[in-house]
Amino acid sequence: MPKIKIPPVLRNATSGEREVNVEGTSVREVLEALASRHPATREQLFSAEGELNRYVNVYLNDEDVRVLQGLDTPVASDDTVVILPAMAGGSR
């Protein structure tokens, strides 16, 4: 089953889970499955129009899906989808 790596900022929404295994044969399906299982992730991943939020990078293994087929990128069962928002840290 494909797995999704959850970044720290989204883990509140997944009850602390760092990796989630979901069914899906495309990036869209896999992220949709995540959003169904953990509804709090939906608005952080998807815009109102159902597109991926621009500030969230999604990788299929090590490649940004934007250079592949976007949300329609096919996902195999041993693939890993990585969700990556930007971090800036800081003490403020």
């Binding site: 790596k5 970044p7 720290p8 900022v9 952080q44 621009r54 500030y55 969230v56 990078n57 990788y59 090590d62 490649e63 940004d64 250079v67 990585v82 990556l84 928002p85 930007a86 971090m87 800036a88 840290g89 800081g90 003490s91 403020r92």
Partner: protein, 397 residues
Amino acid sequence: MPSGQELIQKVKQQIREIEPTDLHSALHANGAGDEVVVVDVREQDEWDAGHIPGALHVPRSHLESRIEQVVPDRSKRVVLYCASGNRSALAARTLEQDLGYERVESLRGGITLWKDRGYEVQVPRRLAPEQRERYSRHIIIPEVGLEGQMKLLDSKVLLLGAGGLGSPAALYLAAAGVGTLGIVDNDVVDRSNLQRQVAHAEERLGMPKVDSAEIAVKQINPDVKVEKYPVRLGPDNILDIISGYDVVVDGLDNFPTRYLLNDASVRLGIPVVSASILAFEGQLSVFAPGRGPCYRCLYPTPPPPELAPSCGAAGVLGVLPGVMGLLQSVEVIKLIVGIGEPLIGRLLLYDALAASFTELKVRRDPDCPICSRDPASISAEEMGKFPDYEAFCAGVA
């Protein structure tokens, strides 16, 4: 029997002497018609302390055995010099009378008079004995060597932030012998910083971080020049501050400034080693203008505030910025010395809890508003003006 001095005086009358002014003119003459070969006949330690630019070194003790390799053409115009004109006079006589050189002159007054006239003296690049000792562990590595260490000593690295990331970077880059370390930070040392900001100390609470970091740097390596910028980086000062540096280390704590830094560094062609951290995870990449993607290629749009908490809000494992700051330092050294594969076009993710490293590819965006444009096409007026990145970051719903 003549005295030594008398002999030298006698020899000087047998050879031709040239005035420093005339030698200087001959060396700077435009025509290459009458090329002059300048030979320094002094000892090694005198040569090391400085010599006439362009001179060749043949110590007088090896004159007869080496001069032919150095000046094979006996019809060439040769000017010999030493410290004050005595040894070179004796050497000139040897070249003329014993070795058949046709056009030999001795510099009157030697390099001493040359310097008195205000003419240039070149000092060869050599490490002082203390430096050889200090950097010995670098020098013996083939990939670094004396040459690599010289590059580090000549380099200028700017640290943006003397906090979690900047602290370890400052210490290790100072240890490595980076010649000039610039530090930008307008904050003061706070007790909560000490959990991770190792360039600071209990006894320096309340001190401006740039001053505190400078103390730590000098304690490791007094040779490092520290330039302090106790200011907030903004569109009005960023170009002036970062200009002239070879590499920028990004340890910034907010998005608008990261975007601003990206814009400015791409315009000036300065590579940025960028890291960010949160809780138990770190990210690291190298943005090298012209060689790979820029920060904007990776993050075209900033996240909304709720997806970008600060360490103050979410916490951070103290040692984590230590790890990332040191990884940044490694990339800086690789870029300066020119070894290994810097993380250009690659994003390294470190998960401290899993003790795992993951690598993601970062592609250049052909339509990137920042780096798809040729910096040469930016006019002088435009160069100093930046988009409002605060608004850019705040504008995301």
